[in-house]
Symmetry: C2
Subunit: 144 residues, 2 copies
DNA sequence: GCATTTTTGCAATATTGTTGCAAAAATATA
DNA sequence: TATATTTTTGCAACAATATTGCAAAAATGC
């Protein structure tokens, strides 16, 4: 059974469904995520909103979205935090151990490869896995 | 052909081999890594050296060690940077796409599972991978 | 439309990381 | 071993990033 992707015009529903008030900042930030085909950093969001919202608001909005499972964080080796939409509107606490993230070393965009599942690995005795994440870097489809 | 693990008493050799001067800070930080069975963050190192060294020195030492391939960075979802020893003293620029990292959600330690190789994944058309990293979270062998 | 709840923005503060430069330490050389 | 050269350190200043409390503003529920 396919879960349909979120319709871009339904920001209000998405917010209300998660018990959140509908505000300008939240709608605008949601919009940025839906427009972007990659992942966004806090800085990207500030840049693209012309500082219309306070930095604190952006931080809190991202945090709220993560808590509600609207966006998720992507692991990186530098100390930047990247966020990306949960394409299939996963439930709260969904931890995205199921798809691979791709970071392009040329354009620096990050992609959620929703259709690529993270393969199983056999761990040494005593280790009990609960989640797993995989990050691949290289050249993306536009930069190759 | 097995590459033997580094002998803990040979910090000097390890540093010199990499063209680095042997200093107190470098020896102490190396020691912390060899003592630790997990990965370390910058903060861990500051804590365990009683602020004997300047923050800047710690930053620069870590950076140097990464450049020389003595330690490597581990991707995380929060914005912390973790470092771990390259157990098999890999050459410069080695990017550690070959083993899995395990983060324990109970004791917060991070382990390099040197013997667990990152499996291959098939990417969508157009994506050219160069490196890949995998992070598994759960309970480690001591906390299960 | 009004009371209640939620969210925002400001200010202040904390944390984290970077750079230039002179002093100190380590290494190389005589 | 003493000295010259190179490397590394620590300080100071700064920059970027993130967090908290609280009053004002906005959104929601009735």
């Amino acid at each position: 059974m396919e879960i349909p992707p979120i319709n871009m015009s339904e920001y209000n529903d998405l917010l209300k469904k998660n018990g959140l008030s509908v505000t300008e900042s939240r709608k605008k930030i949601l919009d940025l995520f839906f427009e972007s085909d990659g992942a966004l950093a806090h800085a990207d969001i500030e840049k693209n909103t012309d500082a219309a919202f306070d930095r604190v608001t952006v931080y809190r909005t991202l945090q709220t979205f993560v808590e509600k499972g609207i966006i998720h964080q992507i692991p990186t080796t530098d100390n930047s935090v990247l966020y990306a939409l949960c394409k299939h509107n996963c439930e709260q606490g969904h931890h995205h151990d199921n798809h691979v993230h791709f970071i392009c070393t040329h354009c620096d965009k990050t992609f959620c490869l929703d259709d690529v599942t993270v393969p199983e690995v056999k761990l040494p005795a005593g280790f009990s896995p609960s989640q797993k994440a995989m990050v691949v870097t290289g050249f993306c489809k536009e930069c190759r």
